[in-house]
């Protein structure tokens, strides 16, 4: 049965949650509405609400399920990302960027991130380019959010992956279209509170179940000989250690994956997230940002800090404590895929799989490795998988069932079907842990946590994506100005603006244009969501959630960050400097992903097609193929902004006065 593990109460709680979200959305429409309405009325948003809204937008299923699963693979070194999330994503973003962004955004009457950039640099090209980048790449991040929720539903409720994807996409998609886009603060806050409660319970339960903080960490440290052999070869030294650091040997690959892609790519990329930057525009003053820090700093610690810690600790549970009781329906000799690169033979682990029915439904719902099978390697030598993989311990019970101790690491425990194959799927680690280690009622709590995390993030993603294509690309390319365009004499903009647009009244042509824009916005959102669902449908395994998120965050950092920060703080940065910086960031990132970064270049396949050999043009230069594009693109982008600005004409004083305020110098 499709919903074999979903009972009445599961459905009842989900429906109750959706009803509560719907009610709060209606309440928001009929009363206080959104942050902007507060501002119109000259009122301030409560800092708790502002922080929760920002946090719920920031943190998604990607962070909890995707990056939590990566912590299950690579360990607590991922906590460096939590530090960056809090310090850069909250402290620096709120205190350093928040105020200037809000002031400049209001002075320039900017309503989207590309519009802010375009008006700061008096460039329609910048606005269109930024809009196109967001529209093209945001679906990748939306897919990561979808996959996170889907993996949990598939594992926790016994759904097949495609059904779970359909259900999750429909629920979040309906929410986005029926009110989510407006970003009602009550709804965001409610979702933030649910996320906080869910993650707090998870943290306490996880630490208590491993005997406390120090005992848990000590046990995890002692497990380092259980690290999967494939990870040892690239520098994994245990779940409480950093990967081996160095340059020029494959042994150092993991350090560069963890630090350059996962920690720096996402940790720095958060500063130039279009959907987060917009949140600053709705704040009344710096005082609200100061106050929101108190809640924001706590919220992010409870989200990513808990997910990464629990992800790592899950190894102790699976190795030492898990007991699976059920009927063994079948045994299967299978080659479980550990790593799959396009165009190359997948790296597999030959082993005996147990298919176990733990619910009495007559269908296998749990798949465990019983033991490894020795096999001949490419060089003819035997690979002793029977020794490299821990053997599960099976005790028959009198009623025909069996008690099984999997004695697995998180990686080898997360066995899932993918088409005709079996894969070790890191994105299933957190869902498997929640299903196996937590009480049944928590599955529903966690599902609500993930629904809340996905809904709040996806609504802002869709809003940003739709406005990027409608407002920033279509409106600009259609050659008409929008009603909110600042007076040309104030901005230095030479374009003429019809009189009626400068006032709040609307002409017929303005209304027609507005209608067309709305159609484009909605079509853009539909296309973006379909792209996200398509991507989620075709990709599974290889910690794809974290990788897709890192690509989006890294690209935003490389293409936007130097021009954005430069535009906020430096008067001397010029339009040419900003354009060239964005183009360099975009081109270098694109080049790196297509030709150098092995995983992404392999998926694209151009290098392999041309050379008939490896996936990366730097395949023979160890470590380069795993270095994130950000490491190269961001410095080049920043340098370009600096150098080009120094050699080009500075912006007019009148325009700078408009951007920075008349009284500033």
């Amino acid at each position: 049965m499709m919903f074999a593990q979903v009972d009445f109460w599961d459905l009842a709680w989900v429906l109750l949650y959706l009803a509560a979200v719907g009610y709060l959305g209606w309440l928001g429409y009929s009363h206080t509405k959104n942050a902007t309405d507060y501002l119109v009325a000259g009122r301030k948003v409560h800092p708790f609400i502002m922080a929760m809204s920002y946090g719920a937008t920031f943190i998604s299923t990607s962070a909890i399920v995707g990056f939590g699963g990566v912590a299950g693979l690579f360990g607590m070194s991922l906590l460096w990302l939590t530090f960056f999330n809090i310090f850069a994503g909250i402290f620096v973003a709120f205190i350093v960027l928040g105020g200037p962004t809000r002031r400049m955004g209001h002075r320039l009457d900017a309503h989207t991130f590309p519009e802010l950039m375009g008006r700061r640099f008096e460039s329609r090209f910048i606005q269109v380019l930024a809009g196109l980048i967001i529209f093209c790449v945001m679906p990748l991040y939306a897919a990561a959010v979808l996959i996170g929720g889907t993996e949990f539903m598939a594992t926790a409720f016994g759904l097949d992956y495609n059904t779970a994807l359909f259900v999750f996409a429909v629920v979040t998609g309906v929410y986005v279209f029926f009110g989510g886009l407006k970003g009602v603060l009550y709804t965001d806050t409610f979702q933030g509170v649910i996320m906080t409660v869910g993650m707090l319970i998870l943290l306490i339960w996880a630490y208590v179940s491993v005997g406390g903080v120090v005992t848990g960490h000590t046990d995890l440290t002692a497990m380092k000989d259980q690290v999967f052999i494939g990870f040892k070869k690239i520098g994994h030294q245990g779940w409480t250690s950093m990967p081996q650091f160095g340059w020029g040997k494959p042994d150092y690959n993991l350090w560069w994956i963890v630090v350059s892609t996962l920690v720096m790519g996402v940790g720095i990329g958060v500063l130039a997230q279009p959907q987060l930057v917009l949140r600053f525009l709705t704040v009344k003053s710096g005082r609200e940002l100061n106050r929101a820090l108190v809640y924001g700093g706590t919220f992010i610690l409870l989200m990513t800090g808990v997910a990464f810690t629990v992800g790592a600790l899950s190894n102790i549970y699976f190795f030492k404590r898990e007991k699976v009781v059920g009927r063994i329906l079948s045994r299967e000799e299978a080659k479980v895929i550990a790593k799959k690169e396009p165009g190359q033979k997948p790296a597999t682990v030959p082993c005996v799989l147990l298919h176990v029915d733990t619910t009495g439904s007559g269908k296998a719902d749990t798949h465990l490795v019983e033991r490894g099978i020795d096999t001949a390697g490419p060089d003819g030598k035997t690979i002793p998988w029977s020794k490299l993989m821990r053997q599960a311990q099976i005790t028959p019970l009198p009623d025909g069932r069996a008690e099984i101790l999997p004695r697995a690491s998180s990686f080898t425990r997360a066995v899932v079907p993918a088409g005709p194959d079996w894969v070790f799927n890191p994105d299933s680690i957190i869902p498997t842990y929640i299903t196996a280690a937590m009480p049944r009622w928590f599955k529903v709590v966690f599902l609500l946590t993930l629904l809340a995390a996905a809904m709040s993030t996806m609504s802002s993603q869709c809003h940003t994506l739709g406005s990027a294509i409608g407002h920033d690309v279509f409106e600009q390319l259609s050659g008409r100005e929008k009603p909110g365009q600042p007076p040309p004499q104030a901005t230095g903009d030479k374009r003429t603006i019809p009189v009626e647009f400068a006032n709040s009244g609307r002409s017929d042509s303005a209304a027609q244009k507005s209608n067309r824009t709305i159609v484009i916005v909605r079509a853009g959102i539909v296309v973006g969501l379909l792209l996200a669902v398509t991507f989620a449908y075709f990709t599974r395994g290889g910690y794809i959630i974290a990788r897709a998120t890192a690509i989006f965050f890294g690209l935003c950092a490389s293409a936007f960050l130097p021009a954005f920060v430069g535009g906020l703080f430096f008067r001397r940065i010029t339009k040419a400097g900003a354009i060239s910086s964005m183009v360099v960031g975009l081109v270098v990132t694109g080049f790196w992903l297509v030709f150098v970064k092995e995983a992404e270049a392999g998926a694209i396949g151009l290098v392999r097609l041309v050379t008939g050999g490896p996936n990366s043009i730097l395949a023979n230069y160890p470590n380069w193929p795993v270095v994130d594009p950000l490491f190269v693109a961001l410095p080049l982008s920043a340098l370009t902004a600096l150098v080009v600005s120094l050699f080009t004409r500075p912006p007019a004083d009148t325009h700078l006065a408009k951007c920075f305020g008349a009284g500033s110098s």
Partner: protein
Amino acid sequence: MLGIEDKWVALAYLLCLAASALCITYGLLRWNQGDEPVEEADQRWAEHETRESEEL
């Protein structure tokens, strides 16, 4: 430290807590600072934003 083998990972663990504490302390110390009057530009921006949001 704290049962964590590598000092760099232990440092990350402590820095997470420290960064969170920094946010809380800074926010509490400056709880009443930074208030700014709503200016004409703020009002105009908010009205435009509301109208566009309603249309959407």
